[in-house]
């Protein structure tokens, strides 16, 4: 509209301008506006202040013509093609200036200026658009160079190294004139190794067994025993779950991922069985597309793609195109940071400011993932679940069931077709006759008399069959202006079936929009009121919905877009477990005139009820969260400035060019590219994947990586302290068949790992311990604190087989974590983390976390002093100790220290404990207090 009207207006204006082709008009009318309204975001100066917006500068003629992210700002002489004018008119995505539209007169000045060829004296070209690090230069950056296999360096002290790993560490220490720390004592080593490999402390007996084992390979035997124990999967699987932002609910609405536990089980199993890391990554990115040898493999692989599904997405985002890209962005962030330690999502809106990652590479990767769907669109979108292969017996049952359902559906359809040919006479009384009192209606019923009406509704008793005080109709008029809302008091949160009672007949509308507002959003059902209601001749079911007490729970019937009378008699909300059996209260089927009529409304209703019952009793295939491939793979176009509504150049699917060594996998047009992405990620030539995981393993075992920014191997991350050692480990990791257990074994059997924390010379010269010339004292994670407490109290329960919450749980709000299994099995609810997790720096389950924060804050202290868990478990620990045979309290104190801190008490500590025990009247309470204090103490929280 604007365009067609505008052109003549501009023509007139230009004609009226005496000197439009010199700079007068520009100087008087245009420049001041640009300076005042635009320069703060669109000029060299703005760029210098980092305030440049949209890549657009308006402070020179060249810059104006070059334009910004969306193209040239204007085309001289062509107002209709000039984005600048469109923006000024507030006539598109960009509305400028953002603070408010300029007066029409000013906009007309601009139109005239452009129409006159946009004369503009401003010279000196603006600087070229900023781009990230150039790709070729980028390839020289350490992390993008191919992984090398450097020889181990020569060292002066040839006796110290236990292997090549140690030579790299020792050479660096010797270069600084330092010596490594002596080996830690065996008890310290046992505690370190047990926690690092299994997440649990050794019992005093286990420590003694190792301390007293005189065989030369005692240490290696212990390592192998722990690597083979289920504790390894529980510990190292949990590390991966941090990277996979593993959770069992989504923050908004607290909706529970009831199948997510399968992914957790898959991860733990993969670490237990030492599934090669490259395969592990491939399965998570594209397991659903990879060939599977057996149904069990197929199951594992489909479950693995849960990795792509666990994002804490904003399912309520109403702009579903935006949501789709947000999901892709989230997946990409998790893969890129977790597997590659790259911050690619910076490139969603602009070329990466620091790293050689152009926006086009981002959309090349995003295009691959966008070909897999994770959500089904709805007001509150739903994540997808797919059936897993079931056993042969179940498959047969499923086949039979499907056939029965199809048969019944066909019969219902046929019966309805007959009924449609024999419509009941106009306004004929429906099957049920007479007046039904509201109190006789099942559920929480609202009569139309109590409903809120908008517009003129007529109350009627004409049909003679209704609930309560008659029914309402819209007089077949005022279409779109009338509505009637039934709003009951829901007594308790739960699932309800909603029935609508109406007065049917041929004069009625056949497409009445009835909207149910429930805790899960709103759903509109079109009701055909020409048909008599199917249930008892009075009601139709609108479906089952979840309502919350005090939450939104109402049914709105509108007459919008209807032809024919819209009627409303009552609405009832029946608790799902109290829905009357079909026909239980049904009136006898009405006698039709035609005896041969094969099925009437009541019979159809009965069949529909049977269908519902059949469907509810369907044999269950297990389900898993997984993506589903789009039928037709596509490339994306660059979303300019990250906006899904502003599409730029096409971005053919591909990979990060800077991290591609040699030819990239070919991208077949008929495939999504996910298999190729998996191939590229796990190629032995990928310079990042092996380095990143080797560094992570080091970080988990030393508390600090060779690259300390474990999730960022880009230019804003840190550089490796021992680049050659990192390459050595990465090379070896790949050569060992990507075996995580072998990688861990290599590290923990080194002398470097076995050092003690005491090395004053190294501590003085290298306070941050970048050279690894001593052991770091490390913090126990939340899970290890909890599991250690439970193992000391003797209450640790075995792992649950499935999720650790009740099957029907719909929302995570206020979930109480009462299970006493190992922490890795507690449900990770984003709105209801176990309190101990929250207090002790558990990984934020919404984002990839390679390195947990370590805080020391008062809420941790309050937890240990006052939380019932701390108090109760201390009591159990005390009871357990008191039940054991010990000669005296002194022996018990030693035992308590060894159980909790893995060491014997010092003389001072014995004295403190003895004094305390002597002063307490009740020994049970005294021992409980001593255990609680030991759990609370600083030493319990650290491993050395």
């Amino acid at each position: 509209m604007t365009r067609t009207l505008l052109l003549p207006a501009v023509a007139l204006l230009t004609a009226g301008l005496a000197a439009a082709n010199d700079f007068d008009h520009f100087e008087k009318k245009i420049r001041p506006v640009l300076v005042e309204q635009c320069y703060s975001c669109h000029s060299d100066d703005a760029e210098a202040k980092k305030k440049l917006r949209g890549g657009l500068k308006l402070d020179t003629r060249d810059a104006v013509l070059a334009g910004g992210d969306t193209g040239p700002a204007l085309v001289p002489g062509k107002p209709a093609d000039s984005l600048l004018l469109k923006s000024l008119r507030y006539d598109g995505d960009a509305k400028m200036p953002p603070k408010g539209k300029l007066p029409d007169a000013v906009i007309k000045d601009f139109e005239a200026w452009v129409a006159a060829g946009a004369p503009d004296p401003r010279k000196a070209g603006g600087a070229a658009k900023t781009v990230g690090l150039d790709l070729e230069k980028g390839r020289q950056f350490w992390s993008y160079r191919p992984v090398a296999n450097p020889p181990a360096p020569a060292v002066k002290d040839g006796a110290w190294p236990a292997g090549d790993l140690d030579r790299f560490v020792l050479a660096a220490l010797e270069a600084k004139g330092l010596r490594p720390a002596p080996d830690a004592d065996r008890a310290t080593l046992a505690r370190r190794l047990y926690f690092d490999l299994t997440g649990l402390p050794p019992t005093p007996e286990q420590t003694d067994a190792f301390v007293n084992d005189k065989s030369p390979d005692a240490y290696e035997k212990l390592v192998d025993k722990l690597l083979a124990s289920p504790g390894f999967g529980e510990r190292w699987g949990r590390h991966w779950l941090d990277l996979a932002r593993y959770a069992e609910s989504v923050t908004l609405r607290g909706l529970v991922f009831k199948e997510a536990w399968r992914y957790r089980a898959y991860v733990l199993d993969a670490f237990d069985r030492d599934v090669p890391f490259d395969r592990f990554v491939r399965e998570q990115v594209a397991g659903d597309l990879l060939p599977a040898a057996t149904p069990a493999d197929r199951t594992r692989q489909v479950v693995a793609t849960g990795y792509l599904m666990l994002g804490n997405n904003n399912l309520e985002e109403q702009d579903k195109r935006q949501l789709r890209m947000d999901v892709v962005d989230e997946q990409l962030d998790v893969i890129a940071r977790g597997v590659l330690a790259q911050t690619v999502t910076c490139a969603r809106c602009h070329d990466h400011k620091f790293d050689p990652i152009p926006t086009k590479d981002y959309y090349a990767l995003a295009g691959i993932l966008r070909n897999a769907r994770a959500l089904k669109d709805a007001n509150v979108s739903q994540w997808l679940e797919v059936p897993l292969p079931a056993g042969p017996g179940v498959e047969e049952e499923v086949r039979k069931h499907d056939a029965a359902v199809a048969d019944l559906q066909a019969r219902i359809k046929a019966a309805k077709a007959v009924a449609a040919k024999n419509p009941p006479p106009a306004d004929a009384p429906p099957a049920a006759k007479g007046v039904l009192a509201l109190k006789d209606v099942p559920g929480i019923a609202v009569d139309d008399a109590k409903a809120m009406k908008v517009g003129a509704w007529t109350e009627s008793k004409h049909s003679g069959s209704y609930i309560g005080a008659g029914y309402a109709h819209d007089d077949n008029g005022g279409k779109g202006e009338k509505s009637i809302t039934f709003d009951p008091e829901i007594p308790a949160t739960g699932k309800y079936e909603v029935w609508l009672a109406y007065s049917g007949g041929v004069s009625r509308a056949d497409n009445v929009p009835v909207t149910v507002f429930s805790a899960d959003g709103e759903k509109t059902v079109a009701v055909n009121m020409k048909q008599p209601p199917g249930i008892d001749g009075r009601f139709v079911s609108l479906g089952q919905f979840r309502f919350e007490k005090d939450g939104q729970s109402f049914v709105l019937i509108s007459n919008e877009g209807t032809k024919g009378h819209v009627t409303a008699d009552a609405v009832t909300f029946i608790p799902a477990d109290q829905v009357p059996a079909p026909g239980a209260k049904a009136a006898p089927p009405a006698k039709g005139k035609d005896k041969e009529k094969p099925a009437d409304a009541a019979a159809v209703a009965a069949m529909e009820a049977e269908l519902k019952r059949l469907q509810a009793a369907a044999p269950k295939r297990p389900m898993a969260m997984s993506v589903v491939e789009e039928a037709k793979p596509e490339d994306l176009r660059v979303n300019v400035r990250g906006s899904v509504h502003n599409l730029g150049e096409p971005a053919p699917r591909g990979f990060l060019r800077v991290a591609t060594v040699g030819p990239a996998p070919a991208m077949p047009a008929d495939q999504s590219g996910r298999v190729q992405l998996a191939d590229w990620l796990t190629s032995k030539d990928n310079p990042l994947t092996a380095r990143v995981y080797a560094n992570r393993a080091w970080h988990y075992l030393f508390g600090s990586g060779i690259v300390r920014t474990v999730d960022n191997f880009g230019t804003t991350g840190e550089t490796p302290s021992h680049p050659e050692l990192l390459d050595h480990l990465a090379t070896r990791f790949v050569a060992d068949g990507w075996s995580v257990k072998k990688l861990v074994r290599t590290i923990v059997t080194s002398r470097t790992y076995r050092q003690s924390a005491a090395n004053s010379a190294a501590a003085a010269a290298d306070p941050e311990n970048r050279l690894f010339g001593r052991a770091n004292r490390r913090r126990l994670e939340a899970e290890a604190i909890r599991d250690a407490v439970l193992s000391v109290s003797g209450k640790l329960a075995p792992a649950p087989d499935g999720p650790a919450f009740a099957p029907g749980l719909a929302a995570d709000y206020g979930f109480k974590h009462t299970a006493v299994c190992r922490s890795v099995y507690l449900p990770v609810f984003r709105n209801a983390l176990p309190e101990l997790f929250e207090a002790f720096d558990f990984a934020d389950p919404s984002v990839t976390t390679g390195k947990r924060t370590t805080s020391t804050v008062a809420p941790q202290a309050l937890f240990m002093m006052n939380n019932p868990f701390a108090v109760e478990q201390a009591k159990h620990a005390a009871a357990r100790l008191l039940a054991e045979a010990h000669p005296d309290d002194a022996a018990r104190v030693v035992r308590a220290y060894r159980l909790t801190l893995g060491r014997a008490p010092t003389a001072g500590e014995r004295a403190v404990a003895a004094k305390f025990l002597a002063a307490q009247p009740d020994p049970k309470a005294a021992w409980a207090a001593l255990f609680q204090a030991l759990f609370a103490s600083a030493d319990f929280r650290f491993i050395e």
Binding site: T251, K320, G480, A811, E835, S855, V857, V871
Partner: protein
């Protein structure tokens, strides 16, 4: 005292334990400011502050601005007519900016001018209306997110989707706290729904900046307290256990003398112990006079809960807490102020908060606290000027709504910006939620463009790359 450390030494030393983390993340411009090793130590902002603290009265769900403060005579004139509107939900769903016919719905409450300033207010909030001369209305608000979850997260954290620190965490990070014995950022009765803990979470900021929840939405105010502040043990046992722990720590420190990390843990218990002793006093309303309680509506059925929570907020602020949020809401995904149907129910909610808010304003003023306290009232968005689905309520409206601020250097008895003649969309002097955040930070002495934290390779801000300080609302 068994720990031979002065407070000064403690502050310096614990810096190695948890302060270093905070320091490592501070952008260089802020490094000097954060020089005190205690990451919670009170410190000046980037420029002179007009306010020291914030009380945010969160009306969860979205109060109808056209029924409360945004007076639009056209709604009465055209009541019941079908007219074209740009409905946010429809635009978001379809991706097409297209008008659709909607039934205009007049306000259910009567508007009048109030106070010396003649500010418009309806009789939805009659008590607060007596204080309009203290209020600065922003009537041209707009924000992101059409549904509660996204918009609520945006209101608190400046992002509809991503995990970002809450505004209170940013403020605490920027300014520290004035009372080391209390949490610096408190959220009273937060809702579990619509982002739940993320709305008072520290996200990637160090954990010391996390918000502390007191109770939960819909719960009784009397139960609202800090987690684990009290435990099952009797006081005497607690004292004995604490003394024992002190002695154990003293022995553990002897094994590695001068160990900063061990000392940090030991000292976290000292702080917890002091908090355990001080916080209950601050939260205990029994010490307040009957007159003060009555001022807040405490003891009256409708207003007792929110009245207690508002009074608690005043006591916390008085004690030096930097950021206090008081939520009026519900603990589920469907919040209180959310009348998609049955708009008259707005009246019940208004009744519950009106007197407590008026009482809070009066009480802050007479104590001289309003001068340097920003009281911010508002929801995550407003409501449509037309009926939803032709029914009896109004749908969400993120494109135009009203909030007000009082105290803290905001203009008094003033209205900034306008919506269109129906109250549908902000049109004049528009203020985005990012702008409001920037402005509140500005009054606290913080420059929203300089208050940054480096995470995952880049500097993050509450206002992302947006936001302008709205000078027009500042006195």
């Amino acid at each position: 005292m068994l720990l031979p450390l002065s407070r000064r030494e403690w502050l310096t030393r614990t810096g190695c334990g948890f302060g270093s983390l905070a320091l490592a993340g501070l952008a260089s411009a802020d490094a000097a400011r954060a020089a005190p090793a205690d990451p919670l130590a009170a410190r000046p902002g980037h420029h002179k502050a007009r306010a020291k603290r914030v009380i945010f009265l969160f009306m969860q769900g979205g109060v109808s601005h056209v029924d409360s403060y945004d007076h639009k005579p056209r709604l009465d004139a055209d009541d019941g007519k079908q007219m074209p509107f740009h409905d946010s939900r429809m635009i978001a769903n379809s991706g097409v900016r297209q008008a659709s016919n909607r039934r205009v719905m007049k306000p259910l409450w009567k508007f009048a001018r109030h106070g010396q300033s003649g500010m418009w207010a309806s009789d939805l909030f009659p008590e607060v209306a007596r204080h309009v001369d203290e209020l600065c209305f922003v009537k041209s608000m707009h924000t992101e997110g059409v549904a509660h979850g996204p918009a609520t997260l945006f209101l608190h954290c400046g992002s509809t989707t991503f995990v970002r620190p809450s505004m209170g965490s940013w403020v605490l990070y920027g300014l520290g706290t004035e009372n080391a014995n209390l949490p610096g950022f408190v959220s009273i009765a937060p809702s579990a729904g619509n982002g739940g803990p993320r709305n008072y979470g520290n996200a990637f900021l160090p954990a010391v900046y996390q918000g502390t929840p007191l109770g939960h939405a819909g719960g009784p105010a009397a139960d609202a307290t800090i987690k684990n502040l009290a435990g099952p043990l009797p006081p005497a046992a607690k004292q004995a256990n604490f003394d024992l722990l002190r002695e154990l720590h003293a022995e553990q420190l002897k094994r590695t003398p001068g160990d900063a990390e061990l000392e940090a843990v030991a000292n976290s218990y000292e702080l917890a112990w002091r908090m355990q002793r001080n916080a209950p006093d601050v939260l205990d309303l029994a010490k307040e006079s009957a007159e003060t309680k009555a001022l807040y509506g405490i003891g009256e059925k409708a207003t007792d809960t929110y009245g207690r929570q508002c009074l608690m907020a005043r006591r916390l602020c008085e004690a030096g807490v930097r950021f206090v949020q008081v939520t009026y809401g519900d603990n589920s995904a469907n919040p209180a102020w959310d009348q998609h149907s049955n708009l008259p129910k707005h009246g019940d909610h208004a009744k519950a908060v009106d007197k407590p808010i008026a009482g809070l304003l009066a009480d802050l003023k007479r104590r001289g606290l309003l001068e340097d306290t920003i009281v911010w009232w508002g929801g995550e968005f407003g409501r449509t000027p037309y009926a939803e689905g032709n029914g009896t309520g109004r749908d969400h409206n993120p494109t135009g709504f009203t909030v007000w601020c009082a105290g803290g250097g905001f203009k008094k008895g003033f209205a900034h910006g306008e919506t269109d003649e129906f109250g549908g969309q902000a049109v004049t002097d528009k203020v985005h939620m990012h702008d409001l955040h920037a402005t509140i930070l500005h009054q606290l002495g913080l420059d929203h463009e300089k208050l940054t934290y480096r995470y995952a390779g880049r500097d993050f801000r509450l206002t992302d790359v947006h936001g302008h300080v709205v000078k027009g609302v500042l006195a």
